[in-house]
C-alpha cells in the first residue's frame, strides 16, 4: 500500500484540536505508541532509507516494512507493508534470531482523528513539541490545510527520525519518564 502524508511541526495542540473538531473530524482517542526499529548488523535497511518496525499501538501489535520515500515536493510517499501480529515479544525474538538488531526505541503519545478519507494524528514525543501528521489522498490533504490555518509551505515530508534529529534530540531513544 502507498502511504501519502505530511507533517506540520510545532503545533498548538488545543488550537489544532479545536479546528479539527469544528470541521467535523472524529476524535478516536489517545494511545501510547511504542515503536522499535530493526536493522541487520551491516545497517543495510537504514542505509537504503527503509524501515522495519515493530510497534505497539494501545493493545495492538503491528509489524511493518516501509520502503524508500518517492520523490515529491511536499509529500512523503512510501510503500507500506503492514500486518498485525499476536505478540510483540515473540515477533521480536524471531527477528533477533534472524540476525536483526534493535536500532531504535521510540515512545510517543498519539491522538487520532478521522475526517473524510484523511487520517490525522497529533504525535507527542517526550523531547520535542507536538506535531501534526496528515495522511490520505493528496487533494484532500491540500484542501484541509487552509481550513486549519496552514499552507503547504508550513508542512514538511520528514520522517519522525529526521524530525527528532532536527530538534537535536536523540532520534533512537525516546522514553517518557
Amino acid at each position: 500500500m502507498k502511504e501519502i502524508e505530511l507533517k506540520i511541526l510545532n503545533i498548538s495542540v488545543p488550537v489544532v484540536t479545536k479546528r479539527l473538531l469544528a470541521l467535523g473530524a472524529k476524535k478516536k482517542g489517545t494511545q501510547l505508541v511504542i515503536a522499535e526499529h530493526f536493522d541487520f548488523s551491516d545497517k543495510r535497511i537504514h542505509a537504503s532509507n527503509q524501515i522495519l518496525r515493530l510497534r505497539k499501538v494501545g493493545k495492538k501489535s503491528e509489524f511493518c516494512f516501509k520502503g524508500k520515500a518517492q520523490k515529491s515536493r511536499y509529500y512523503k510517499i512510501v510503500e507500506e507493508i503492514e500486518t498485525e501480529v499476536a505478540s510483540l515479544d515473540s515477533m521480536r525474538r524471531i527477528l533477533l534470531k534472524l540476525g536483526l538488531n534493535v536500532r531504535s526505541y521510540l515512545e510517543k503519545k498519539r491522538t487520532s482523528f478521522v475526517l473524510g478519507n484523511l487520517k490525522i494524528e497529533i504525535d507527542k514525543y517526550p523531547d520535542i513539541p507536538a506535531y501534526l501528521e496528515i495522511e490520505g489522498p493528496q487533494k484532500e490533504i491540500a484542501s484541509l490545510l487552509p481550513k486549519i490555518g496552514y499552507t503547504l509551505q508550513d508542512t514538511n515530508s520528514m520522517g519522525a527520525d529526521k524530525v527528532l534529529k532536527s530538534y537535536g534530540v536523540n532520534s533512537r531513544k525516546q522514553i517518557f519518564r
Binding site: 535497511i45 527503509q50 522495519l52 509489524f63 511493518c64 516494512f65 520502503g67 507493508i81 503492514e82 500486518t83 498485525e84 501480529v85 499476536a86 505478540s87 515473540s90 515477533m91 525474538r93 524471531i94 534470531k97 534472524l98 540476525g99
Partner: protein
C-alpha cells in the same frame, strides 16, 4: 520454547485415530496446512540448522522460527519461536523485502489429537505415506508410546524434510493436485 518430538512413519490414519480415541485422546483439528520457508541468499539459516516458515493452519497464520537441533538419541529437540500473524501474504512480502528467498512450499493435511499434555499430529503429505508426530516432554512421550504399543526403536527423530528425502521425494515442493 523448547520443542521435543519424534515421529512414527507409515501409519494408518484411521487405525491410529481409533487407538488414540480409545486411550481418551481428544481431536483438536483437521485442516489443510500450507507452509513456505524462507532463507537468506547466503543460506545462513540453513547453515545454522535453523529455519523460518509461514504457515496457513486452517484459518490461522503462524510465523515460526526453529533453531538448531540439540543432540538426542531418539528425540528431535530444538528451540521453537512462534507468532500468530494476521495476514500470510503481507508477512511473506515483508520477508522478501528483507532480502529473504522462498526455500520450499509444503502442503499437508493435519489431524491433531491431544492426550495428557502430549500432542499428536497425523500428517498426510501428497506423495508419501502418512506419519504421526508426537510432541511433549520426553517422559510423557515415552509413556504414550507404550500405551499405543510402540517402542522407541520404531520411532524416528527425522524432520519432515528428511522423511521426504528418505522416500526419494522432493522436500522443496509438496503440493496436492488441484
Amino acid at each position: 520454547m523448547q520443542e521435543i518430538e519424534l515421529k512414527i512413519l507409515d501409519i494408518n490414519v484411521r487405525q491410529m485415530t481409533r487407538r488414540l480415541k480409545k486411550l481418551g485422546a481428544k481431536q483438536t483439528q483437521r485442516a489443510l496446512f500450507k507452509a513456505e520457508s524462507f532463507d537468506f541468499p547466503d543460506r545462513s539459516l540453513q547453515h545454522r540448522d535453523s529455519y523460518l516458515r509461514i504457515r496457513q493452519e486452517g484459518k490461522g497464520t503462524v510465523l515460526t522460527f526453529k533453531g538448531r537441533r540439540t543432540k538426542s538419541k531418539y528425540f528431535q529437540q530444538r528451540t521453537e519461536l512462534e507468532c500468530t500473524v494476521s495476514d500470510y501474504q503481507t508477512m511473506k512480502k515483508i520477508l522478501l523485502k528483507l532480502g529473504m528467498r522462498l526455500d520450499m512450499h509444503h502442503e499437508k493435511k493435519r489431524t491433531s489429537f491431544v492426550l495428557g499434555g502430549v500432542h499428536f499430529d497425523m500428517d498426510e503429505y501428497p506423495t508419501i505415506p502418512p506419519f504421526v508426530e508426537i510432541e511433549g516432554s520426553q517422559g510423557a512421550i515415552k509413556g504414550v508410546l507404550a500405551r499405543l504399543g510402540y517402542t522407541l526403536k520404531q520411532t524416528t527423530k527425522m524432520t519432515a524434510d528428511q522423511v521426504l528425502l528418505g522416500y526419494g521425494k522432493n522436500p522443496r515442493n509438496q503440493r496436492f493436485k488441484k
